[in-house]
Symmetry: C3
Subunit: 151 residues, 3 copies
């Protein structure tokens, strides 16, 4: 389901990783293991990474990945909290998906420690689709906090 397009040469910190996935109508897609692989491939041991969604009716969040009912309940709750409304004017008819995207957010930032994502015990990273089915993409950008001086 995921595919990696390494825009620049492997092992370079400047590299931006572009990943893609195929979505259904609505859903939370866990991308933790893909992001972990990107961190490993980057060779960065200490720093942060930004997982970024370039779409306006989808977002990125971090939540529980043990019981799949959690993200199912979250999706249901968002549909109740942010319903389509008769007053909406956007002609595509998907304004509720746009609101959900901004409420969830376009990116998450995760700390990298000893070459690994510093996630909590029950945390997973999710791509949140609010207006599929579509072919979607997301980016992973790594920022190192160690700057070797090669003199």
């Amino acid at each position: 389901m995921h595919d990696t397009d390494l825009r620049e040469s492997r092992g370079e910190e400047r590299m931006i990783h572009k990943l893609t996935l195929q979505t259904s109508r609505e859903g939370f897609y866990e991308i933790t293991s893909t992001v972990s692989q990107v961190i490993r491939a980057s060779g960065v041991t200490d720093g942060i990474c930004v997982v970024y969604c370039p779409h306006t009716t989808a977002g990125i969040t971090i939540n529980e990945n043990a019981d799949p009912d959690v993200v199912r309940d979250m999706l249901f709750a968002l549909s109740k909290t942010c319903p389509e409304r008769p007053e909406f004017r956007h002609i595509e008819g998907n304004s509720s998906a746009h609101v959900k995207a901004s409420i969830i957010g376009s990116s998450v930032t995760v700390i990298i420690e000893n070459g690994r994502l510093l996630l909590g015990r029950w945390q997973g990273i999710y791509f949140c689709e609010f207006d599929g089915p579509r072919t979607r993409s997301y980016y992973v950008k790594v920022i190192s906090s160690i700057h070797p001086v090669d003199c």
Copy 2:
């Protein structure tokens, strides 16, 4: 509408850019082109930038900038989801604006690639006013992922 106060000398990565804008009662103000100019002026080609709102009744988000009805609908949806409530105690009477600010978030992080913001095709960056009219400010901080070793 925007004004730039370069706190430190131009072209320095350590520079923090402070921008200001004048707002109405409520509204989403697109700031994409201003942020893009800041990135160009910084000279940073690869990294991330943080767009930060120092106010507690306003926020920053990323969403569609093609059809202006999208952000209009989003503002309407937030007013329905986060109304003023009789149980609120904050004496200024603007607690709903504070809630909206935290739901939308105080900042966004955007990836920089080849000297440009790596935004999606339909994405724009917005300053979100929930309690104007006011003179507001926001900051742009650039973090480079390339560290030249000048030996």
Copy 3:
């Protein structure tokens, strides 16, 4: 209420600071002064810091710290906006806390200028508990934008 576990030696930029706090059932706990101390101890003068929550029923936000009624009203508003619902299936019965966590967000990013957090006049950083009482932790990671070349 707070305790610091410095995972690596003091003054090192690569250091991740782990803080802990004891929470009640629900509440916003201001952590601004603790985060400020971490920044000072890091010795980093210019950059950003990420304040990260590794739990899935808690989050981090920035909002007003002058009138304590603001965060009280925000907590009340979130309970109205994201109530428990009979349709929820998650067996632990705390799905509303999970939704609040993702709506508020797992982290905030703050700019560092001249060795200090660049917060707005009324802004404080809050750890947001939605499913306590518990012993909770959060991380502070500092990224410098100045990279001394020691040749």
